[in-house]
Amino acid sequence: MTWLQPWAWVGLVAIALPIAIHLLGSGRSPRQPFPTLRFLETTRLHPTRRTRIHDKLLLLLRVAIFIFAVLALAHPLINSAERKDAYAGSLARLVIVDTSASMHSLSDAGSLLDSARRVAETLEREANAGLTLESAAPGKALAGAAGWLSLHQQRREIVVISDFQSGAVSEFELDGVPNDVGLRFVRVGSAVIEQPVETVHQLDGRRVQAIISHSDSAHRTRSEVRWTSAPGDSRSYRVDVLAGDEGATATAIATRAADAMNAIRITGTALASPDTAQVRAVTIVTASYGERDALMLTARMPSEAWMLQSVLALRGDALLQELAANIVADSEIFPQAGIAPIARARNGHAIVNAAEAEINGESRLLLFTHANTGVEIIASVIAALRSSVESHTSYAELDPARLADSTIARWNREPSSEPRVSATDASAASTESDGRWLWLVVLVLLTAESLLRRRTRQSAVLEQ
C-alpha cells in the first residue's frame, strides 16, 4: 500500500484528546425532567468516573473514529494487481544527449553527436511519454531530468547517450536521481583510446586537427593534446612590463605574472609553423616608467584587429572593472581624446588606457596604467588578457580518458514497477486514492458512537 499524503499521520497525535476527555473528565450527570423537587433532600455529591464497560466501548469507538479518519486523510493507494499491470506497461523516458566538445569528433559516419541523436530519437519514440534533452554537461542535467519525470505517473527512466569522457557523469550526480527512476547509459564511440589518435574537431566553428595520445603508465594515466594546425588563427602573446625604479616591487610581481603568461604559451603553438605564428606584443606601461610621456606622444588609437579584440575583452572583464571602481584617481592619463580607455576609477577618470605604438620597430599594444593603480590592477590586466585569448573550448574537452564500461554498467538500473502517483496528481489524490472506503468506515463508526452514547445516557438514568 502507498500513502499519498503521509504527513497526515501526524493527526494520530490527536487521539490523545478523546482519551484525555474520556478518562479525566468528571462526567456530567444526565438531566431528567421531574414534576416537583419538594420531596428531594440535598445530598453530598461525589465525582463520577467512567468505569462501566459500555463507557470503555464508547472510548474505543471514538479512538477508532480518529484512527480511521487519519488513515483516510493519508490517502491510501492499494497496489492492486490491475494497477500494477497497468503501471508496468507504461514508461516515461527522458534522454540526455551529451553535446560536449568530445562528441564533435568526426568519422566517416558523421560525428558522435549525430549518432547519439539518432539513438535518442528511437528511444524517445518507444516510450509512452518521451523527451530528449541536449546538454554539454549530462551529469548536471540529471537533476532536471528527474524533476520532469516526477510529473508523470508511469514508470520512469533516464537514458544518457555520451562518449562518457571522464567527468561526464559522476556518482555524486547520480545520487540526486530517485531510486525508483531507472537509469541507462548508452555509449557512442570507443571506450578507451589505445593508440595515439589523430582527430579532426570542429571547435568554435573552426576545423582544427589534434593528436590525442593516451598512455597508461604503471601509476597513472597521461593524456596529451597537440595541435597540429590552427589555420589563420594562431595566436601568441608576449607581455612585457615597463616600469621605473619607484615601482620596483610592483614591476617585479607584474613581470613574473607576464613571464608566467608567456611560459604557458596558452595556445600551444610551440609546434606551430613559425611562418604562420604571429607574436602579439603587449606592453604594460606603469606610471613610474621614465619615458612614459614620450611614449604617450607617439601613441595612437589601436588599429589592428587583435588589438581591438583585446581592448573589448579587457573592457568586458568583470574583475578588472570592479577593481578599478574601488580606486579614486586624481586625473586622467590621457586627457586628449583618441586613446581607448579600458577601465575607469570611481570618480570616472580612466586609470587604464590602451593605445598602439612602436617600440624597437615592433608594433605593440600599450596598456598605460595610472599612478594610483596597484599590483592588483596590473595582475588583473594580465589575467584578463589571458582569458580573452584562451580558446573557448578548453583542453579538458579533448581529454581522451573515458569512464570504463564496468563503471557505467554498474550504474544501470531498471525503473521501479511499484505504482505511484506523480507530484501534480497528489493534489487531486482524492480521485485516485482508496481513502473513500475508510471514510465510509468513519461514518459507520460515528453512527455507532451516537447510538451507544444515547443508550449510555438512558441506561445510566432509568435502571428499574
Binding site: Q32, P33, F34, P35, A460, E463, Q464
Partner: protein, 304 residues
C-alpha cells in the same frame, strides 16, 4: 371484560372514543352511575333499563305486573357536575408513555360522558396561560362534544392556582352540585385543602382524584442525576441512591396527608396511578362513591 391497559387507551388519539370505551367498560361491569339528583319527589315510572339503580325499582309494581319499572324523581336531571382539571406542567410527567395529563383528560372525559349520558349537566374549569378557562355546566350532546374537544385541546404548561379554580368552579354551579378536582395536588397544598373544605361546607359534593405516576411514588433513578423541575427553572443534582428512601417516605407522607385531610373534611378522595387502567380507576372510585351514598341514604332513612 378486562380493562383496556393504560398504554392501549393512551394510544387512542380520539378522546371521545377513549372516554366511551371506558364508560362502556364500566357499564359492562354493571356499574351504575352514582350521580343522582337531590330531589326525591316521585314523577313517573319508566321501564327498567340495564344499569338503572336497583334501589329505584318499584318492587310493588313488579309484584303486581310482573314487569320491572324504575321510579323517576322530579329533579333527577338537575345535577350539575364541575370538573376541575389541573393543567400545570407537573401533569406532563412522565415524558415517555402515558402522562398524567393525558390520563386526567381520559378520566375527565369519561366522567363527563357518564354524567351527560345520565342527563345531568357537566362543566369544565381549568387554567390556561395564567387565566381561568371554563365551560359552564350544561347538558346535551352538543355541549358534551364541545367539552370533550376543549379537554383535548388543553395546553399543559406553567403553574396553576388550584384554590382559585376550585372556588370559581363551585361558584359557577348555580345550585348544589358535584365538584370533582383531578390533579396531583402538588401546588398550594394548604390553600387547596382549605378551599375544598369551604366548597364542601357550602353543600357541594366534592371529590379529589389525586393522580400520580409510579415513578413519582418511588424514585426511579440510579446514581447521580440532575433533575429539572417542570413548573419552574429549578434544577438539582442529587445522588438518587442516597435519597431514594427519604423521597419515597416523603411522597407517601404527602399522599397520606392529602387523603386524611379529605376524609376529615368529608371529601371524596381517590389515589389514581397511571399504571392502572382508567376504567379500573374509575370503577374503584365510583364503587366507593356508591357505597358512600348507600350508607348516607341508609342513615337518612333511619333518621326519618
Amino acid at each position: 371484560m378486562s380493562s383496556l391497559s393504560p398504554s392501549v387507551v393512551a394510544a387512542i388519539d380520539d378522546l371521545e372514543l377513549a372516554a366511551r370505551l371506558v364508560v362502556e367498560g364500566l357499564r359492562t361491569g354493571g356499574h351504575r352511575s352514582p350521580f343522582h339528583g337531590y330531589s326525591t319527589e316521585f314523577r313517573q315510572h319508566r321501564p327498567y333499563r340495564a344499569g338503572d339503580d336497583l334501589k329505584y325499582l318499584d318492587w310493588k309494581l313488579f309484584a303486581r305486573s310482573d314487569r320491572l319499572y324504575t321510579r323517576q324523581f322530579r329533579e333527577t336531571t338537575n345535577l350539575s357536575v364541575m370538573l376541575v382539571l389541573d393543567t400545570s406542567a407537573s401533569m406532563a410527567y412522565p415524558p415517555d408513555g402515558l402522562s398524567k395529563s393525558r390520563y386526567a383528560a381520559i378520566i375527565a372525559a369519561a366522567l363527563a360522558y357518564l354524567v351527560s349520558e345520565q342527563g345531568h349537566a357537566v362543566g369544565l374549569m381549568t387554567m390556561q396561560n395564567g387565566k381561568l378557562a371554563y365551560m359552564p355546566a350544561r347538558g346535551g350532546r352538543q355541549h358534551l362534544r364541545s367539552l370533550l374537544a376543549r379537554i383535548d385541546r388543553l395546553d399543559i404548561d406553567g403553574a396553576w392556582d388550584p384554590a382559585r379554580c376550585i372556588a370559581r368552579g363551585a361558584q359557577l354551579l348555580q345550585r348544589r352540585g358535584v365538584v370533582i378536582a383531578i390533579s396531583d395536588f402538588y401546588d398550594d397544598e394548604l390553600e387547596t385543602q382549605r378551599e375544598l373544605r369551604r366548597v364542601a361546607q357550602r353543600g357541594h359534593d366534592v371529590a379529589m382524584l389525586q393522580l400520580l405516576s409510579q415513578s413519582e411514588l418511588s424514585l426511579p433513578f440510579r446514581g447521580q442525576v440532575e433533575l429539572d423541575e417542570l413548573e419552574s427553572d429549578h434544577r438539582r443534582v442529587v445522588d438518587a441512591d442516597a435519597i431514594a428512601q427519604s423521597y419515597n417516605s416523603a411522597v407517601r407522607a404527602f399522599v397520606d396527608r392529602v387523603r386524611l385531610s379529605a376524609l376529615r373534611d368529608g371529601i371524596d378522595y381517590a389515589l389514581i396511578t397511571t399504571d392502572t387502567a382508567p376504567e379500573q380507576s374509575l370503577r374503584d372510585y365510583l364503587l366507593r362513591r356508591s357505597r358512600r351514598e348507600v350508607s348516607a341514604h341508609t342513615r337518612t332513612a333511619a333518621a326519618r
